[in-house]
């Protein structure tokens, strides 16, 4: 299998830098997501790895070998597209056989490999169907099978679930992830859906404006976002203003933390960046880290302005007496109604000190 190393990769269109000197090392068998809003350069990056776009600068190495000058058809990649891109004039088997024919695989081996892969994507009985006789989910599974049957070095997926409905999308996330683990193939997955990136990936690469904002495990990205932009893109977040207090923190709270004064009192907050005492900073506070209690039980005081019930959780909007608005998510077993006054508690480890946006 294959280790991929991207070094200072750049793509310019006219004068604009769509991808601006990014470097990523992808381990053998790793599942990596490129996550970002549209126009952040994630698809261009994927196309450069595939060979559909020429790199303006930088290197792409598969197992140490630079492939920048290797045409797409010789890179030995498996690619899955958003619109499936199945050949409409070929049956499922013919679609799968295409790549094997290009590799001049003998017929008996070809058929056994196709049967094996179709089995893997649970489409055993669909060999002779045409793509237009399949549902969207089935088509995407055929596309996956077609990419995998050639046993490529790397699997590349470009928003493969974007055209599916919500329920199917969730099923397919798990399906693709399980399949990838079983095959053990190095995978690069492009998406703008943070939930998708987080549930599927070993590591997530968050991109903005052609640059990498943060690379890390999903929990890293979510719990310890590099900056405001990342925090806001990856899930819901409350921003709490604070001021850095001087003095060192001792005991269990330990080093690497800063003391910050905010509406929630004085908290010892994790951070990656150093700030001088007195500096104005922004803390992130995830909605599900906040605990609501009935009024006058300590903590910050506020009033429920809105309540949205969505089954597994309830969303609250809280107006704090200090003027700030909070977004809170709790399990439905707490019954607090719109208009109620509440005490808002936030544990110290729910906060994270954000670095300034680059």
């Amino acid at each position: 299998m294959t280790e991929v190393s991207i070094e200072r990769l750049t793509k310019t269109f006219g004068g604009a830098r769509a991808v601006d000197g990014i470097s990523i090392r992808i381990a053998d068998g790793e599942f990596i997501s490129l996550l970002g809003p549209s126009g952040c350069g994630k698809t261009t990056t994927l196309k450069m790895i595939a060979g559909f776009e020429e790199a303006s600068e930088g290197a792409i190495r598969f197992d140490g070998k630079d492939v920048v000058n290797v045409p797409a058809e010789k890179r030995d990649i498996g690619m899955v597209f958003q619109n499936y891109a199945l050949f409409p004039h070929m049956t499922v088997v013919q679609n799968l056989a295409f790549g094997l024919e290009m590799r001049k695989i003998a017929k008996p081996e070809m058929l056994s490999r196709i049967a094996e892969v179709l089995d893997m994507v649970q489409l055993g009985g669909y060999s002779d169907r045409y793509p237009n006789q399949l549902s969207g989910g089935q088509q995407q599974r055929v596309a996956l099978a077609r990419a995998l049957v050639i046993e490529p070095k790397i699997l590349l997926l470009d928003e493969p679930l974007a055209n599916l409905d919500a329920k199917l999308r969730e099923e397919m996330r798990v399906f693709i992830r399980d399949l990838q683990r079983r095959v053990g193939i190095t995978t690069v997955y492009v998406t703008h859906d943070q939930a998708e990136a987080m549930t599927m990936s070993d590591r997530v690469v968050v991109m903005f404006g052609g640059r990498i904002a943060q690379i890390g495990a999903p929990s890293d990205i979510y719990e310890r976002p590099e900056n405001l932009e990342v925090a806001q893109f990856v899930g819901q977040v409350n921003l709490v203003k604070g001021t850095i207090l001087g003095g060192t923190i001792t005991g269990a709270a330990g080093p690497g933390k800063s003391r910050v004064a905010s509406v929630f009192g004085e908290v010892a907050v994790d951070s990656r960046t150093d700030h001088a005492p007195g500096a104005a900073v922004t803390l992130s506070l995830r909605p599900e880290a906040i605990e609501l209690k009935t009024a006058s039980q300590g903590g910050a005081q506020g009033k429920v302005t809105a309540r949205y019930y969505s089954g597994s959780i309830i969303d609250y909007r809280i107006a704090l007496d200090s003027g700030e608005t909070l977004h809170v998510q709790t399990f439905p077993n707490i019954r607090i109604a719109e208009g109620d006054r509440v005490s808002v508690h936030a544990p110290a480890d729910g906060f994270w000190l954000l670095g300034a946006a680059k």
């Binding site: 058809e73 030995d76 597209f81 004039h89 790549g99 590799r103 793509p131 596309a143």
Partner: protein, 260 residues
Amino acid sequence: MKRPVLTLYCLLVYAFLLAPILVVVGASFNAGNFLTFPPQGLSLRWYVTFFHNDVFMRAIRTSLWVAAMATVISGTIGTMAALYYVQHAGRWKEAVRIAMLAPLLLPEVLTAIALLFFVYAVGIGTTTMIGMVAGHVLITLPFVFINVSASLESFDPSWDMAARSLGADRLTRFRRIMLPLIKPGVIGGALFAFIISFDTFTISFMLKGIGTSTLPIQLFDYLRTNFTPEAAAVSTVSIVLTLVVVIVSEKVLGLRIHRF
């Protein structure tokens, strides 16, 4: 039949347009000596006369040959032009389109005269059929171009990318992926080319070789001095020939469009 008046109106328009053709077909089975309708008795005698008429037979062979040549050449050039237009023309796209459609916009007689001057100026002349075939290619090209570029517009570039990722080189991708998927457009365009070439008068009239003649010209010549049902028989045969070409290509090559 929700709107009886509209339906009736449409039927009348079609009847008005198609009736003359039916009349010609009917008149061709005339037993009498003049082109009249209704026919005076039924007979195939004018077909016999037609098939024994060397001049007409030579003309129909010329027409078929020129139409076949024009179809192949214009099918090839038109497809290549459409490929360039859709995939590579970039900011020249509109200019390319107008240039390709120009033969449709110019009066055919003008094109014909210009071509006539041209073939003499470059020394080709009209002793061979080169000039006439070139003229037919010119006027049929827009039809191939329009049909093929329409089917190329619905060709999803990711099909090509998928084939590339699977290891197919340029030629294989064209042969195995693109051509089968744009085939209805190519065949449709080629059919148009064949029918238009077979039917055209002006271009052939100007550019025909000395002593040769296509079927429409021969028919026109014939009608200047004769008014027998043989003319109707000629027309009927050319209608049937056209229909046969359409039906055979539909059955053999497939005009049906893949539904995606």
